[in-house]
Amino acid sequence: MIIHVKTVGTLKSLQEGTKLEALEVPEEASVSQVLERLKIRDWEIGFVLVNGERATMKSILKEDDSLTLVAPLAGG
């Protein structure tokens, strides 16, 4: 299935503001499986949003979901 991924903030593994319009992942993939696929380590992530709503690493994705990965809000 296809999902859409956006990163916000200063993630170490991906460029600032990377936008993946279409990423193919297995059916019922979890957020952590997507992170593994993108080689993003879990400590790089503070918040996860799915379709704008707060989600967790265990959240299961479905076709056409928008996944937003936000760096930890450390510092203020």
């Binding site: 916000v8 903030g9 200063t10 170490k12 600032e16 503001g17 400590w43 992530i45 503070g46 918040f47 949003l49 707060r54 967790t56 690493m57 937003t68 936000v70 760096a71 930890p72 809000l73 450390a74 510092g75 203020g76």
Partner: protein
């Protein structure tokens, strides 16, 4: 024992007399130094009923255990006293002034009295000298710093007040480092310095703190250094890196906390500032993170502005909070506040309150200023008036709680403060414990006293059992977590260490090894947390003596509204009160927020317990 001299220099500005007070290792073990040690002095020696501007009210500068010690981030200094806000006052800064004070051979300063004329203190290993600062009164902190370095020693370090401290604004801070400002900003202690006719304190010393076992210290440091990968974002972009992340999750304060999303965030973000204006990265004493970003503007209306770039808090308070997406203007407004000696966080909230009051008709006239959202010129004019207490500025110079009392009860709902201290910059909707942390912070609505929202947002604290983000908005567990984080942050403060080490995921074990290397003490994780609990309760006890109780552990209506957005405000209020109830119970405080006698005695705070008992009887 190494690392500390056990000597505190006391100066009476009225009599110009000085003396050296000494204390013992048992005191240091109990409080570790910093603002905890300062509070113990304040509580045992000074009458809390005295007005903060009275000459008898002391101003205390205190280094922490590791201030000036070459471990990562051993740079912090605390300034403490009774705040003009009427309760415990405390502000902290990094930079180089604190370490330099330690190098004079004095761990801290206790300043009382009032100088007959504007003065500054010149402090070396020989002691303190009171010198005239008559020619500097009215000057900004940058010029003051330059002149005093010329008059003393170019290698010295200066802590100065600006016009805001002289006019006793409750939002006045103390600026170290001149234009490369590191600011002891919060709770208006710059005004207490101004009331003492004390323009600045210049320090110069060469006594490096001795270390008990440098091998232990170095090995523990070496093992910790790989953790710096966790704070690379801070190294590259400073705390400004947070702007876009916070906006994405609805945590960026926008338009006085009325909105949760804003298109302007990218324009004022860390990467934008670094790409356009970075001159160099700045690190405080012994800091490998180097989150400071010195900036320079060569052209345009603010050409010539050069110095410390705005931090996240300031980009928000003078940017998104005011719908100001002009980054150049924010850099300049930050520069202006530092030169005037104002706390940028409180100032931004006061300006937002002024604009909202004006646009909604509660404030009819503003000296001809057309106060509207996103107008940098009007913001700059109002800030100048606030610092100099001129015209309409006088109404806002003492913060939003006082201003709302003048403008009417309806404005109290959007006067964003707790205990008179303006809230820091984070919308608590995604991390609701922040509202509790603000309300129960000893100095008022401060995020740094607790950092609970960081744990709620996913920064791990495994020693306390927090390994991943806390989703949802249930009150359960948030009261306890907030108390534990406040205790832990009090430990960082007393150790003189920057709290950003927490983001680098420093462990209790590493802190324990550092303490062992420096002092020879063997402390467990439980010992560390007991000291934190003691420090927090000590400051609470001091506040109780000044009448603080649950009546002051509150949040304004707007914050309660956004705790549960889209629901009636009573839902947000219920969540807040449920969290607070759990918090009081976990702390061992009664339902009014007064520490139980047994709790204080269990922490060795007999004197505080006795004073509270005497107050009741």
């Amino acid at each position: 024992m190494a690392g500390i001299s056990y000597r505190i220099l006391e100066v009476n500005l009225s009599t110009r007399q000085t003396r050296v007070g000494e204390y013992g290792e048992e005191v240091l073990r109990k409080y570790f130094g910093g603002s905890g040690l300062a509070c113990s002095i304040l509580l045992s020696r000074f009458d809390p009923a005295v007005d903060p501007f009275h000459p008898d009210s002391p101003l205390i500068f205190m280094t922490g255990l590791f201030t000036g010690v070459p471990v990562p981030c051993g740079c912090r200094i605390s300034i403490c006293g009774k705040s003009p806000l009427g309760h415990w006052g405390e502000a902290n800064a990094g930079g180089y002034w604190g370490p330099e004070l330690k190098f004079t051979g004095f761990d801290g300063l206790v300043i009382t009295g009032r100088a007959a004329e504007p003065s500054y203190l010149w402090i070396t290993a020989e002691g303190a000298e009171v010198r005239s600062a008559a020619s500097l009164w009215g000057k900004g902190t940058f010029e003051t710093t330059e002149k005093l370095l010329e008059q003393t020693d170019p290698k010295a370090h200066v802590a100065a007040i600006g016009p805001a401290g002289e006019t006793r604004s409750f939002m006045a801070g103390v600026i170290t480092g001149g234009a490369e400002a590191r600011v002891m900003a919060r709770t208006g202690l710059g005004a207490v310095m101004g009331a003492k006719n004390l323009k600045a304190i210049v320090v110069r010393g060469e006594k490096k703190p001795a270390v008990q076992d440098s091998k232990i210290l170095q090995e523990a440091t070496r093992a910790f250094l790989p953790n710096l990968k966790f704070v690379e974002g801070l190294s590259k972009f400073g705390t400004a890196a947070l702007i876009e992340s916070k906006e994405a999750v609805g945590a960026l304060p926008i338009k006085n906390y009325l909105l949760s999303h804003w298109d302007g965030a990218k324009k004022i973000s860390g990467p934008t500032m670094v790409a356009g204006y970075l001159q160099k990265h700045y690190g405080c004493f012994s800091c490998p993170i180097r989150c400071g970003k010195d900036v320079k503007m060569d052209e345009g209306p603010y050409a010539g502005t050069e110095g410390h770039g705005p931090e996240y808090e300031t980009l928000s308070s003078l940017g998104s909070l005011l719908l100001n997406d002009d980054l150049k203007s924010i850099i300049h407004l930050n520069y202006l506040c530092n030169d005037l000696g104002l706390d940028t966080m409180s100032t931004g909230i006061a300006v937002a309150f002024a604009i909202e009051s004006f646009t909604r008709g509660f404030l009819k006239e503003a000296d001809g200023l057309d106060l509207k959202w996103g107008d940098p010129q009007a913001i700059a004019s109002l800030i100048e008036k606030i610092a100099k207490r001129k015209g309409i500025g006088a109404l806002f110079a003492d913060g939003v709680e006082k201003a709302a009392k003048v403008l009417g009860r309806e404005t109290e709902s959007f006067a964003l403060h707790s205990k008179g201290l303006e809230v820091s910059q984070s919308n608590p909707t995604p991390t609701v414990s922040l509202a509790l942390s603000w309300a129960t912070s000893n100095r008022g609505a401060c995020h740094l006293e607790g950092f609970s929202h960081q744990v709620e947002g996913g920064v791990p604290y495994p020693e306390a059992g927090y390994t991943s983000a806390m989703p949802g908005t249930s009150a359960e567990g948030r009261g306890k977590m907030t108390a534990l984080m406040q205790n832990y942050m009090a430990v960082f403060n007393a150790l003189g260490l920057c709290k950003f080490l927490f983001f680098a995921r420093i462990s209790h074990a590493t802190l324990g090894q550092w303490i062992k290397g420096l002092t020879g003490w063997d402390l467990t994780s439980e010992d560390l947390m007991e000291v934190g609990d003691r420090l927090y309760n000590l400051k609470r006890a001091y506040n109780v003596l000044m009448g603080v109780s649950s009546d002051r552990d509150t949040m304004p209506r707007r914050i309660l509204e956004i705790l549960q957005p889209g629901k009636p405000v009573r839902e947000g209020e219920k969540l807040f009160l449920d969290m607070r109830r759990e918090y009081y119970e976990f702390r061992g405080w009664d339902e009014k927020g007064i520490p139980e006698r047994e709790k204080l005695l269990s922490l060795g705070l007999e004197e505080a317990a006795q004073k509270i008992k005497n107050r009741k009887s």
